[in-house]
Symmetry: C2
Subunit: 144 residues, 2 copies
């Protein structure tokens, strides 16, 4: 799907100081493991059952979405494509580029959705009206 793909990160299980595993460390180097420099990090926590978040797209912003605990489902769509991802692995990230509509739901108890973003927060970057999104996205993907 255009402007959407899964990124796989390192999953480092440290056993240096003992024979038993000491947990998992997932490193993400800005501009290396993801295709942009990190200007903003945010995370969603304590999202109640039966809540859907998202309902917007971004004009230029690139993001990587990672579920660092628990599980969440992400639907991404453009006017011509639609895909659904269950994120439940801290070593996998969902890259979402410009002009992709997203909805996030089925947050498990304790789910943490961490998002790395390519720009600082700008409200004018958001497209929150679906009809406006469809019009702009048709233009955008026609030119690509």
């Amino acid at each position: 799907m255009r402007n959407v793909r899964i990124l796989e990160f390192k999953d480092i299980i440290d056993t240096r100081n003992s024979e038993r595993p000491m947990g998992h460390l997932t490193p993400i180097e800005s501009g290396i493991d993801i295709p942009f420099d990190i200007k903003r990090v945010y995370y969603l926590t304590r999202v109640p059952e039966n809540t859907t978040r998202g309902f917007h797209a971004h004009r230029k912003l690139q993001q990587v979405l990672i579920c660092t605990n628990g599980k969440v489902t992400i639907d991404v769509s453009t006017p011509s494509e639609k895909k659904s991802f269950v994120l439940d692995d801290p070593a996998k990230g969902l890259y979402v580029g410009p002009m992709v509509w997203r909805e996030m739901y089925d947050f498990s108890a304790g789910a943490v959705l961490t998002v790395l973003a390519s720009e600082h927060y700008q409200e004018e970057e958001y497209i929150r009206d679906y009809e406006e999104y469809r019009r702009l996205a048709q233009e955008y993907f026609k030119e690509k």
Copy 2:
């Protein structure tokens, strides 16, 4: 304590689309909400009970440690000071600057320790031998 402090982030409870809370969103702007640009993000997950991690300091690296789910205890020390922090609030970060020895333990089930770092990974940045650390840190803090 020198080179250590708690940072408080925004805790945004979105109720725009409904009357009930839709969870918490914590935004962190690189270079604005924390005193450096984010070059690296990493997170510790699935750390077993009775595990202590850390046992090192950094020469120049600055980090912010955030517990985005669950709970973890962080001991930070220099040759002349020692402090212990229980992190259990996604809207609080522990800033740890250069030359601070750290140990992390009492990870709860499902705990996620997310770390934002000011530089890319460089093994030569780590000081892992405590005696060497003490010598270098005494020099460092004498000059400050």
